[in-house]
C-alpha cells in the first residue's frame, strides 16, 4: 500500500473548491462582534505554513537554501505563535453581564445560544 500523498490536477482543484466553500460558510456565520478575533484567528490558521518551512529547511542542500529555509521557519513560527497569543487574549475578554470573564479554553461564560437572544 502506498501512503505517499500525490495530489495533481483536478484533485487539487476539488480540494481548493470544497475548502473555499467550507471557509466561506463557516466564516459567514461569525457575528460582527467577533470579527477582530476571527481575523487574527484565521491569521493564526495560515501559520501552518511553518510545517512547509520545516520541510523545506530539512531538505535544504546548499547554504542558500538553508538560510531561506531558516527564514521560512522563523516567520512561520512567528505567524503561528503570535496569532494564537493575541486571539486567545482577545477571546478571553468577552463575557456576558452577571458572569465573570471566561478564560482560556474553558469558558463557561453563560449559556446564551444567540448572543442577542434577549433583544426583544
Amino acid at each position: 500500500m502506498d501512503f505517499q500523498i500525490s495530489i495533481s490536477g483536478f484533485v487539487a482543484l476539488y480540494i481548493f473548491m470544497l475548502t473555499a466553500f467550507a471557509g466561506w460558510v463557516i466564516i459567514g456565520r461569525v457575528p460582527a462582534i467577533l470579527h477582530t478575533p476571527l481575523m487574527s484567528g484565521s491569521n493564526f490558521v495560515h501559520g501552518i505554513v511553518v510545517v512547509g518551512g520545516i520541510y523545506a529547511l530539512l531538505n535544504a542542500s546548499t547554504v542558500q537554501e538553508q538560510v531561506i529555509g531558516f527564514v521560512a521557519v522563523l516567520f512561520g513560527a512567528g505567524n503561528a505563535a503570535g496569532g494564537y497569543a493575541v486571539t486567545d487574549r482577545m477571546l478571553a475578554m468577552f463575557k456576558t453581564s452577571g458572569h465573570p470573564a471566561g478564560h482560556g479554553a474553558n469558558s463557561k461564560a453563560g449559556t446564551v445560544k444567540s448572543i442577542h437572544a434577549k433583544k426583544h
Binding site: 501512503f3 495530489i7 466561506w24 510545517v51 503570535g82 458572569h99 444567540s114
Partner: protein, 483 residues
C-alpha cells in the same frame, strides 16, 4: 520501513490538523464557544509542527549530509520566531492590535514566499504546472509580506500620510506586468535553459525584487482609515499563498488551511467594503479623502455646546441611553471610564446599550474588543442592523469620538461623499450628545448636519476627561440607587 511509517504518521496528523482547524473556526461563531475554538485549532497546529519533524526520515540524498545541522536550525528558528512573537502578542495593547495582526500576517506571507524561493533556487519544482504554482504562490506571498509591513508602518504611525504621485496606478500596473512577465520567462526558460541570457538565479532574484516592490507600491497610496480593508485583503492573500505552496509541497493540510483563510479573508473584505459603502477596487485604486472641497447644501441651525456635567445629569434622568463609540474613544483610552459611567447609569435604573458601527476602529470589530477589554458585557453591545430601529424610542444617544458613521447626509444627501453608507440613526433619538475634541471634520472631510440639529448638543473635550466629569456630576447628585 522508517520512511513508510513517517509518511503514515505525517499523513494522519495533518489530516487531524486540517479537521481541527475547520472545527476550531466553526466554534468561533459564538463568543461562548470561541475561546475553545482557538484552543482546538492550537492543538492542531502543535501536533502538525511536531509531526513535521518526521520529514527527517525522508530527506533527499543531496540534503542528507546537512540533516543534523538543518534539524538544529529548524528548532532554533521555531523557538526564536515563536518565542518572540508569543511575547509580543502577550504584551501588545488592544488598541495596537491591528498593526500586530498586520505583522503576523506579513510573516506568514514571507514564509510562503521563502518556501517558494527554496523550491525555485533548488530547482525542485519540476514541470510547467508545478513551476507556475510555485511562482504564483511566491508572488502573492511576497506582495502580502511587503504590503503588510507598509500597513503596519501606517497603522503604527511610522508613515503618517498616504504617499501618492501622479500616474501611480499606471506605474503599479506596469510593475505587476513586469513581475508576471518575469515569472512567465522563468517557466519558459526552465524548459529550454540554453536560451537563458542571465543565469537562472538572477532571474529568480529579479522576480522576487519586483514582487516585493509591488506590495510596497500597492499599499503606500492607501490612507490609514482604509487599513481595515487592506489588512483583510492581505490576510486572504497569505492564505492563498500558503494554500498554493501546499499544493507545490503536496501537503493537503497547508492546502486546506490556506484556502479556508483565503475564502474567509475575501468574505471579510467584502463585508468591510460594504460597511464603508465602497467597492474593494475603489479602496485600492482611488485616493479617498482627496475630495474635501465637495460642495454641500447650506446647513441650518448652530452648534450648541453643553457642559459635561449637565449632559451627564440629563442622562441619569433618562430612561434609555444608546452609546455610539467611535475611534476617538479609543484614541483617548476612555473605554474604562466610559464603562464606569455606564455602571453609574445602570445603578440608577437607566437602560444602556452600545451601538457599534461595522467600521468603528482600525480593523473590523476592533471596537467590540476594546469594549470587552474594558469589561463591557457583550450582551450590551449591538451591531448596526440589530439596534438601528431602537434609536427612535431612545431618550438619549451619546456619540463619543464618532462622526461619519452618524452623519444623516448618508441617508438623504445624494451629493455627499458618503451617500448610501449604512449609518447609525443617532439623530432619531430624542436628545443627542456628541463628545468631540473640537469642531473638526471626520475622515471623509464633510460637515456633519447632525451636530447642528435642534436635538443635538456638543460636549467638547478629550473623551476620557469628559467621561470622568460626567461621572462626578452624576455621583454629586447623591441619588439613591434604584433596583
Amino acid at each position: 520501513m522508517l520512511i513508510l511509517i513517517s509518511h503514515i504518521g505525517i499523513g494522519a496528523v495533518d489530516l487531524a490538523a486540517a479537521f481541527l482547524f475547520l472545527y476550531g473556526l466553526h466554534r468561533m461563531s459564538s463568543p461562548v464557544t470561541a475561546p475553545s475554538g482557538i484552543f482546538v485549532a492550537g492543538i492542531g497546529m502543535a501536533v502538525a509542527v511536531v509531526a513535521s519533524f518526521l520529514y527527517a526520515f525522508d530527506v533527499g540524498a543531496a540534503a542528507r549530509a546537512n540533516l543534523p545541522v538543518n534539524l538544529g536550525l529548524a528548532v532554533v528558528a521555531l523557538l526564536l520566531g515563536g518565542g518572540v512573537a508569543w511575547w509580543g502578542g502577550r504584551k501588545v495593547a488592544m488598541t495596537a492590535m491591528p498593526q500586530m495582526v498586520a505583522i503576523y500576517n506579513g510573516m506568514g506571507g514571507g514564509a510562503a514566499g521563502a518556501i517558494a524561493a527554496v523550491e525555485l533556487f533548488g530547482n525542485k519544482a519540476q514541470g510547467a504546472t508545478a513551476l507556475f504554482m510555485t511562482l504564483l504562490g511566491a508572488l502573492i506571498g511576497a506582495v502580502s509580506f511587503s504590503g503588510s509591513l507598509i500597513a503596519w508602518a501606517k497603522l503604527d504611525g511610522v508613515i503618517n500620510k498616504p504617499v501618492r504621485v501622479k500616474g501611480q496606478q499606471v506605474f503599479n500596473g506596469l510593475a505587476l506586468l513586469l513581475t508576471v512577465a518575469l515569472g512567465a520567462y522563468i517557466v519558459v526558460a526552465s524548459a529550454d535553459s540554453a536560451a537563458l541570457i542571465l543565469a537562472m538565479p538572477t532571474w529568480i532574484y529579479l522576480f522576487f525584487a519586483c514582487a516585493l516592490a509591488l506590495g510596497i507600491l500597492m499599499t503606500l497610496p492607501i490612507g490609514g482609515a482604509d487599513m481595515p480593508v487592506v489588512i483583510s485583503i492581505f490576510n486572504a492573500f497569505t492564505g492563498l499563498a500558503v494554500g498554493i505552496e501546499g499544493y507545490v509541497l503536496q501537503n493537503p493540510a497547508l492546502m486546506i488551511a490556506g484556502m479556508v483563510v483565503g475564502a474567509a479573508g475575501m468574505l471579510l473584505t467584502l463585508l468591510m467594503a460594504k460597511a464603508m459603502n465602497r467597492s474593494v477596487s475603489n479602496v485600492i485604486f482611488t485616493n479617498f479623502g482627496d475630495v474635501v472641497t465637495r460642495k454641500q447644501g447650506k446647513i441650518k441651525g448652530s452648534l450648541k455646546p453643553i457642559q459635561p456635567g449637565d449632559a451627564g445629569i440629563a442622562m441619569r434622568y433618562a430612561a434609555s441611553v444608546i452609546i455610539v463609540p467611535g475611534y476617538g474613544l479609543a484614541v483617548s483610552q476612555g473605554q474604562a471610564k466610559l464603562y464606569d459611567f455606564v455602571k453609574l447609569l445602570q445603578t440608577g435604573g437607566v437602560s444602556v446599550k452600545f451601538a457599534v458601527h461595522p467600521v468603528a476602529g482600525r480593523m473590523p470589530g476592533q471596537m467590540d474588543v476594546l469594549l470587552a477589554e474594558a469589561g463591557v458585557p457583550y450582551d450590551l453591545i449591538f451591531q448596526l442592523e440589530d439596534i438601528n430601529d431602537e434609536f427612535a424610542s431612545a431618550d438619549v444617544a451619546l456619540v463619543i469620538g464618532a462622526n461619519d458613521v452618524v452623519n444623516p447626509a448618508a441617508r438623504i444627501d445624494k451629493s455627499s461623499a458618503i451617500y448610501g453608507m449604512p449609518i447609525l440613526n443617532a439623530d432619531h433619538a430624542k436628545q443627542v450628545f456628541v463628545i468631540k475634541r473640537g469642531e473638526g471634520k471626520g475622515y471623509a472631510g464633510i460637515v456633519n448636519e447632525l451636530f447642528y440639529a435642534d436635538n443635538c448638543n456638543m460636549v467638547y473635550g478629550d473623551a476620557q476627561a469628559v467621561l470622568i466629569k460626567m461621572s462626578e456630576a452624576v455621583r454629586g447628585l447623591g441619588l439613591p440607587a434604584v433596583a
